[in-house]
Each structure stands twice: as C-alpha cells, then as structure tokens.
C-alpha cells in the first residue's frame, strides 16, 4: 500500500511537469494553430533562468587567501559575493539560499519577452504555412536555443539547490495516518506539485473569468467569427504566446532543484510532452492536464519491481503503449475536439 501511495506521489510529481509543458503547447496549438517544437526549449530556458539568476546573485569579487593554495600551488583565490557584502552574512546568505524561488520574479518577464519576440519575429510568419514548415522552423529554433545555452553554460548539468528548509524529505505518511517512516517524501517535490496545481488553476481561471480569456477561448473555437466581430484576435494571441512561454518557463525554474538542469533537457521532454498533448486531445486544455498526470502516474507504476518482473522493459515503453491504446480506442485522444489538426 505504502509503495503504491509513493508511486502515486511520484506520478503526480512527474505529471506536474508534463502537464505544465503540455498546457503551454496546447495553448499555442489551440489559439495559433502552430506546432511548436521549440516548447521544450522554453522549459529548458526557464530552468536556466534559475541558473542565471542564482549566478547573478552569486556575482562576486576575488580575495586572495594566502593561507591556502590552489591546485598549482599558487595562493588560493576566494570568491566573496556582493550580496553577502551588502546585506551582511545572515540576510545575504538567506537571499542566496532562496535563489530558485526568487528567480520566478526574474523568469516571468524574461520568458514573456522571449515569447513575444519569438511570436512577433518568427512564428507569425508561419500561421498560414503548412504544419511541416512550422515543425522545421521551430525545430531549428529549438536547436539554436539549446546550442546557445550550451555555448554559455557547457554541456554538464549545473547543480541548482532548493532553499535549505526545503531540502531533504519528511514523513508524509504520518500526516495521512500511516505508520511512521513508511512514506517519506522530499519537500521540494511536494512544493513542485502544489506550485503546478496553482499555475494550472491560475491559467484556467484566467481563461474562464476574464474578458480577455473569454475572447481567447472564443478565438480557439472559431477564429473567423471572432475576427468578424471586430476584435483584434492576433494581438491577444501574441499575449497568449507570451503566457504559454511563461508557463513553460516557470515549470523549468521550479524543476531545477529536482534535477540539475542541462542544455538538452528540453529535447528530453519535447517528445513526451507531444505525446501528452495528443493523448489529451488536440486543443483541449483539461485534456492536456489530465493526460499529463495520467501518464506520469502510469510511468511510475510501470517502474515498480513487481510489475517489471512480470513484463520486463515495460517501464521503457509504457507511455508509448498507453498512447497507442488511447488513440486507437478514442480517436481524438481523451478530450479532443473534432477537426483539430486532423488534415
């Protein structure tokens, strides 16, 4: 039982990342009709926003420590951060410790600007072009973005820690009334799950309860009619693109402490998030979220030893197997609408 609950937690956690990326992808599909292969790269850039922000916070000056030596035998150069100098060791240390959550503030404007520039500078020329062209251009963009990151940050993963108080794990099972020490779960993974639930909720309520969101939803359903009503739908769609980029970016920022970011993490998630979107049904936001969590949980279950011993290698293929079964039994995914991306 405790094993199953642990795997459900793991699944929800993985699912959060899938759902957030798929949500942004679906927004772009649904509103702009663009297949965005650069969406994984946006997730990756989000994670590197956290890396960059914590680098900025850690910007430092050098003090030479005569008592120690470096690997060549010269006096050791010790880096002192400005933050600690200005705010004192205690306050400065806390700021540095909280670098990742703080970088959300940094990432939102950066991601929205990146989204704007992408849409105005490149994507808008491809609205009327075939999907194949969109794939080629966004794939090219994804390569360029990840190579730029590699050029500046190298290919190795960069450790980006969570704040001290969220490191390590605690006895989650005790909260639910299980025996002590059976369900131990890391803090930050729960933070990640709650965070993504909040973001998903925010996106949905934005679309549901604001006029802006209403127009966008109307545009998703019938772009032409909305245009005929004299509403400048393109401008709103640009904003939507910025928002989708920000959602992917935030998913990346908060993911950084879970697994150290590297430049190809976007490509690792790209294919999976496409599968998630399609399994959820093209153009359906609730579908994308549902499919994200569903695939996350199934993937976690498939990696349990009990299941692997019956079906060796099932954890390698489970996502694709489920995708095939769902697409064959439900022609348009879980919650897809007719006529979207079927031509």
């Amino acid at each position: 039982m405790d094993a199953i609950i642990l795997q459900i937690l793991n699944g929800l956690d993985k699912g959060s990342a899938y759902a957030l990326i798929a949500l942004g992808l679906t927004l772009i599909f649904g509103t702009l009709g663009v297949v965005n292969f650069a969406h994984g790269a946006l997730f990756m850039i989000g994670a590197f926003c956290a890396v960059t922000f914590s680098k900025i916070l850690h910007s430092s000056y050098t003090v030479i420590d005569e008592t120690k030596t470096d690997f060549l035998g010269n006096p050791l150069k010790v880096d002192m951060t400005y933050v600690e100098k200005w705010f004192g060791n205690a306050a400065g240390g806390t700021i540095l410790d909280w670098a990742v959550p703080l970088s959300i503030l940094f990432a939102i404007p950066v991601m929205i600007i990146i989204g704007f520039v992408m849409e105005r500078g490149l994507i808008k020329h491809f609205y009327t072009r075939p999907h194949a062209d969109q794939i080629l251009v966004t794939f090219g963009l994804a390569i360029v973005l990840q190579e730029l990151i590699k050029y500046f940050y190298g290919a190795n993963p960069i450790p980006t820690g969570a704040p001290e108080m969220f490191r390590g794990s605690f006895d989650f099972g005790a909260l639910l009334g299980f025996d002590a020490n059976t369900i131990i779960y890391p803090y930050w993974r729960l933070v990640y799950f709650v965070f993504s639930a909040v973001i998903i909720g925010a996106v949905f309520s934005f679309l549901r309860f604001t006029t802006f969101g209403m127009v966008v939803r109307a545009g998703m359903a019938d772009r032409e009619t909305v245009g005929l009503l004299g509403i400048n739908i393109n401008k709103r769609f640009t904003l939507m693109f910025g928002m989708a980029a920000a959602v992917a970016g935030l998913a990346g920022v908060m993911y950084a402490p879970i697994n150290s970011p590297n430049y190809h993490m976007g490509m690792d998630f790209l294919v999976l998030s496409f599968v998630v979107v399609v399994v959820g049904g093209m153009g359906s936001l609730p579908g994308a979220v549902l499919a994200g969590f569903l695939l996350g949980i199934l993937e976690s279950f498939a990696s349990m030893n009990e299941i692997k011993s019956i079906l060796p290698g099932i954890d390698q293929i489970i996502i694709y197997l489920v995708a095939i079964i769902i697409l064959l039994t439900r022609p348009r995914g879980l919650m897809g609408r007719k006529g979207v991306m079927e031509e």
């Binding site: 072009r129 360029v144 190579e147």
Partner: protein
Amino acid sequence: MLGLNKKDSVLLLVVTLLAICAPFILNPFPTGSAMAQFNAGYPDLMQRFVIFGIFAIGFNILFGLTGYLSFGHAAFLGVGSYSAVWMFKLLSMNIIPAITLSVLVAGVFALLIGYVSLRRSGIYFAILTLAFAQMSFNLAYSVLTPITNGETGLQLALDDPRILDAAPANAGSLPYPSLFGFEMSDTYIMSAGAWQFQFSVGYYVCAIVLLVSFYLAMRLFRSPFGMMLRAIKSNQQRMNYTGLNARPYALAAFVISGMYAGLAGGLMASMDPLAGAERMQWTASGEVVLMTILGGAGTLIGPVLGAGFIKYFENIFSKINDNILHQWFAFMPDGIEDIMVTIVHPFIGKGWHLTLGILFMLVVTFLPGGLVEGGQRIGRLFRRRKTGRNDNADSTDSTKKPAE
C-alpha cells in the same frame, strides 16, 4: 525514355551524371590545401549521401504524396539494418540476400505498423508512428539486446556461422560484405596532380540502387496510383464520396516507403556492417522529416538534396577545429586573425548543430518550397536575365507548383 516524359528524363539523366561523377564533383579542392576540409568525396560520406537520399525519397512517397507525416520512419531503417547484419552473420557476406531480407522485413514491419496507425490521420497518425518507433528503439537498446546487441550495436564476430561462405583463408580477421567477389570497402584512388579522387565499389553499388529507386519513385509519382495518393492529400473526403476507400492506397504507400527505408538500412549495413539502435530513435525519424521538408516535400529531387545538405553539415562542419581556422585566416594580421577565429568558432566543431539550426530557419523562412525552390529561383533569375525585356513574363511561372 523509359516511359518518362522529357522533363523527367532530363532530370534522371542529370541525377545519373551527378551520381557517376560524384567522386570528382565532391572533391573540388586539392588534397592538402586549406580548402580540402570542404571536400566530401570520400567513400563514407558519398555512401551516406546516397543512402539517406534513398531513405528520403521513400519517406517522400508517403509524406509528399499522401500528406501523412510519419514520425517513426527510422524504425524501418533500423530493422532493415538488423536484418542485413543478421544475414551477414548467419548466411553469407554477399549483400544481395542481406538487402533482400532487409527490404522484406521492413515491409512486413511497415505493414503491421501502418495497418494500425493509418486508422488515424493528421497529428494523431504522427504520434502513433512515433510511439511505435520509440518503443522499438527503447526495447532494442535494452530488453532485446540478445537480438540487437543493445548499446554497442550488432556487429560481426569471428565465430559467426556464415553457412554459405567458404571458410576464409585468413581465419583471424573478419570478412567484408561483398557483391560476388567485389568487396564494398575496395577503393581505387586516382591522383591527378594535387587532386585525389576515390572510386569506391560500395559507393557505386549504392549509386546504382539510388538510380533504380529514383526511377521507380518517378514512375510512381506519374502513375495513376500516384494520382490516387495525391487525392488522399488534397481531399480525402471527396475521394471517399467517389466510392474509393483511401486506406488501402495509403497503406500501400506506407509499406512502399517503409521498404525504401529498409533498403536504405540494408545498404547502410552493407557499407559498414554494424547496426546500432540509435538509428531508430525519434531524432533519426525527425532527421528524415527535416531532410524532406528542407529539400522540398512533394518534389522528386528535393529529399535527396535535403539529405545531402544535412549529412554534409554533420560530417564536414563537425570536423573543423580552431587549428584549421587559424590556418585559414593565417594570411591576416595577428589581431584580426584571432578576432576572425573567435567569430567563427561558435559555428564549427562542437557548434555544428548551431549552424544547422540557423540554416533550417533561414531556408524555411525564405524558401517556402525548400532547396528546390531556391534552385528554381536561381534558374528563373538566369532566364529573366536572358530575356531581359519583360519582368512580368515569369509572374505566372512563380505561381506554379514546384517542379516534381
């Protein structure tokens, strides 16, 4: 000629000529000169151009004609390679049985996957094919290792049975794939002054296969069957209303294109007897999609150009290093030399992906029809210059579909 109209015959002749003269055309710079870095006329790369050309031609039969975007075509190339290597291990080093088996196995595999996947269309179809290919890749890499030799890739071994072949004279070394005594790795090197040209048996075998494949694809494009496939792309519903079931046609196209991929896989294993699982990864499937779109989807020659373009960058640009840059810019004053090296540095060697990504974006933004359209524009430019009088003369021409 051969049942082709004039335009197609010319195209086939041009392709034939290019294929025959490739060792010269691809080696324009003298060996040892600074520009020799850009020479592509060595057997391995020439073979790759041709093999990926075949792969892309086959993919285009499906994608260019029917519009069905398969994101799992690399799986067929992979099973083709595995079949061929197994044939080398068990039966004979002759490439004919190996390639025959790869085409057949890939065809059967394509029939199975196609039968299931073609129940859906559009992006749902793409994801189904992707899912099948990724499952094949993941399993080949891990659980199926007894058949595929996993990460390392399936290789020949000294103790393979090879029941049809006579015991080799030299028992301590591996035999090479061959075609009735002609070993694929044999190369005749011709030196002409500073130039060196390499004529490889393997390359010419590939080239002949390419020409046959190209010719068959041409006939297919022009046949009633080809028209039927185009009908699927332009309006499947209307086709259904005329009482025709589109699915068998699409399935036939899928299987044919899968067999082309298997052929490419078999040839690849014949040129270099190793079959690695990475050949089936989604990135490999994506690569052939990119090749086709980049060259010009739906055109005959486009996919071959796209394949050459991508393989050239992968193999030539990745090998340029700072040392070579310094040689190139050595004629400049020291300061400027260093600046030039610094500017070019991010785009070469380990940065070849960056160059490729930028080129993808440029080509697709400015040449919507792919490289083929680029060629046509240049062609039109020359024609316009020749006529010189009427700028509008070609305006009707530009609305035409790209030549096929």
